[in-house]
């Protein structure tokens, strides 16, 4: 116990003396939480629209003004021919083209139907997809309005109609920040946990102090605990800092209990620290450790459900995410923060995380050797 106390004392001294670690711990969460949620927004705004109006009628003008008034589209150009408009797309000035054929109004009035043409620039697939979806919705609405103008709608509509009204549970305003902030917090915690631990131990290897430690009667578990505990505490500190920022800047406070989050975070950190430890046993230099953890982080983030939904991944990718601790924590964070889930609701994730912690740490302890 006494040995462990002095090891911890030494670790904390070193951590607090290293200005780069302090900067990392304070600045990284602040920067990431202040900037990323604003930028990482799925909602498409400012879609640049090109319009070719062959009709120049009352209705076509009305349609165009409805579209631009929606706030999602910016009218980029108003061309005479499709080719002119298409060259705008080629120059990447436009994202979507709406072509209104001649006699649009005439057809609409006479035959009660008219066709429109939408062309999207699919280089940015999300933008084209969502853009044309928005456009279609707006046109639909427009359609309804036009009908209302013409026909006296009877009390009960003669034709059967399905009308869909949706309400967004747990995030009524579909605020993406509510969705992103907890996820980014998880990534932060993962970085602090795995990177800092790995770098710290590899640094001892690099400067040769580990040799000096290895010839002492110090026990293996003392050394490893001495490394894990400081970063465990640091990780929980970063989490707290993150929640303070989330509250102050975005007004997000978890619906569920903090206790639930901290219990899960505690177990999660154990797993992530184990990963860091494991990296450090295989890497000989800080550069190697950095590259390995960069590679792993990349997979963790992209297959973690932060930016892309796991449910829409192919089956094999879903299997990979099951081995990704980040995906569990992001899920849990969103459950607790947005839905107010309790410890009982996240028991499955907690159990899986416990298994992660045991396996990763066990593997690291077995492969860490005091002699070669």
């Amino acid at each position: 116990m006494r040995t462990l106390k002095f090891l911890l004392q030494k670790e904390f001294r070193q951590i607090f003396r290293d200005p780069s670690i302090i900067r990392l711990i304070f600045i990284m969460p602040v920067m990431q939480l202040m900037i990323l949620p604003w930028a990482a927004d799925y909602e498409m705004k400012n879609i640049k629209l090109g319009v070719i109006d062959h009709d120049h009628s009352d209705y076509s003008r009305k349609l165009i003004s409805t579209i631009t008034a929606s706030g999602y589209f910016i009218l980029n150009d108003y061309a005479a021919t499709f080719n002119q408009s298409f060259s705008e797309i080629e120059k990447d000035h436009s994202d979507i083209i709406l072509e209104i054929p001649a006699s649009f109004e005439k057809n609409l009035v006479k035959q009660s139907e008219a066709t429109l043409f939408i062309a999207g620039n699919a280089i940015n697939g999300v933008k084209a997809n969502l853009g044309s979806l928005y456009l279609r919705t707006i046109i639909n609405d427009f359609n309804q309005t036009v009908r209302m103008d013409w026909i006296q709608v009877p009390r009960f509509s003669p034709e059967t109609q399905v009308e869909v009204r949706s309400s967004n549970w747990f995030n009524p305003l579909m605020n993406y920040k509510y969705f992103m902030v907890p996820g980014i917090l998880v990534i932060l915690l993962t970085m602090v946990g795995s990177n800092l631990t790995a770098m710290n131990i590899v640094k001892e290897k690099e400067i040769g102090t580990i040799e000096q430690i290895n010839v002492t009667p110090i026990k293996k578990y003392h050394f490893i605990l001495g490394k894990l505990i400081p970063f465990w505490i640091l990780g929980l500190f970063v989490l707290t800092l993150g929640f303070i920022i989330a509250r102050l800047v975005y007004g997000i406070s978890p619906l569920g209990s903090f206790v639930t989050i901290y219990i899960f975070a505690g177990v999660y950190l154990l797993a992530v620290l184990g990963l860091g430890l494991l990296i450090s046993t295989y890497a000989a230099t800080q550069q190697q450790a950095m590259l390995i953890s960069f590679f792993i982080m990349m997979i963790f983030i992209l297959l973690g459900g932060l930016y892309t939904s796991i449910d829409s991944m192919p089956e094999w990718a879903k299997w990979i995410t099951r081995f990704n601790p980040v995906s569990y924590f992001i899920e849990v964070m969103r459950m607790v923060v947005l839905k107010g889930s309790s410890l009982y609701d996240i028991r499955k994730q907690l159990l899986v995380m416990g298994v992660f912690a045991v396996v990763l740490n066990g593997w690291a302890v077995v492969s860490y050797r005091k002699r070669s």
């Binding site: 002095f6 030494k10 009667p217």
Partner: protein
């Protein structure tokens, strides 16, 4: 006298089949308790590998070794409690102060600075004025004193010093050897490796190492006495030319530059009279004298075998 360190048939190789490097080939020696034992050899002789095996950091391929009566493989835990190891590279925490480093190493050996202060006092007192300075900011000589203090803080019975004087100025080197002598008086067995031949004469016994082999183990005086040949020091106005000339003469067994002279060993039956005669024509200011060989000469001679 009891034996502090025994090494029997130690073999160590690195690398795979094709690029197999033999670091230690069948090494055997004993070190007596309280001895100052030097392992002298050029870079790559296998000194560090040997030290790492004895300090339980490295496993030998075959052979056995004991330190203080404990086997390096089975009783490594006991050995780690009672040896001090100072690696060739400075390996203390550069971001901790002098005092903190020392206190840290004292505590992980379950002791305190006060308990063994008498042992390190002579050394530590020299760096005490800088005890609040970070270890990374110390000068080379001071770093070394700190490393030695840290290696001694738990009062080890055997001390391993791997090239402690490499890259240290002449005055600090001298000081360092003085410190070792005082430690020896405290009854600590000291194994020290060095690439500097002149330090050999400061040891009780030395092992001359080359390419993973021990060529000779003896007291420095005995090694010199075993030289068995007459060594001539030759000097002239054109030293470069003189060396070329010496090396082409079939009567010369070995010739190499050493300081301001060339050292020459002649084949049996030839004396300085022959050298005088052979060289006087082509060299001005020729000077030939017989000298006592030093350890370096012995090393050069042993290497030729």
């Amino acid at each position: 006298m009891s034996i502090a360190v025994t090494v029997k048939n130690i073999l160590k190789t690195y690398g795979k089949k094709k690029e197999l490097v033999t670091a230690l080939q069948d090494i055997n020696f004993d070190v007596k308790t309280g001895e100052l034992f030097g392992i002298i050899g050029p870079d790559g002789a296998g000194k560090t590998s040997l030290f790492r095996i004895l300090t339980t950091l490295l496993l030998a391929d075959s052979g056995t070794a004991t330190v203080d009566g404990f086997d390096v493989v089975t009783d490594y835990k006991q050995i780690r409690k009672r040896v001090g190891y100072m690696p060739g590279k400075f390996s203390l925490y550069p971001d901790l102060t002098v005092q903190e480093n020392l206190a840290f190493f004292a505590t992980i050996f379950n002791t305190s600075i006060d308990e063994n202060y008498d042992l390190i006092k002579d050394i530590y007192i020299q760096i005490e004025p800088f005890k609040d300075r970070k270890a990374g900011k110390l000068s080379g000589g001071m770093k070394q004193k700190l490393a030695l203090s840290c290696a001694l803080i738990h009062r080890p019975s055997v001390l391993f010093l791997d090239e402690p004087t490499t890259g240290v100025d002449a005055v600090s080197r001298k000081e360092f050897w003085e410190m070792l002598k005082r430690l020896k008086e405290q009854g600590i067995t000291i194994l020290v490796s060095t690439a500097y031949m002149d330090e050999a004469s400061l040891c009780d016994r030395v092992a001359l190492m080359q390419d993973g082999n021990i060529m000779s183990i003896d007291t420095p005086a005995q090694i010199v006495a075993n030289f068995g040949r007459t060594l001539w020091a030759v000097r002239s106005g054109n030293m470069l030319h003189l060396l070329d000339e010496l090396n082409t003469m079939k009567e010369v067994e070995n010739a190499y530059p050493s300081g301001t002279f060339h050292h020459v060993i002649l084949k049996k039956g030839y004396t300085d009279a022959f050298l005088q005669q052979a060289l006087s024509e082509t060299n001005n200011n020729l000077e030939i004298k017989a000298i006592r060989p030093n350890i370096e000469d012995c090393f050069m001679q042993l290497m030729r075998r």
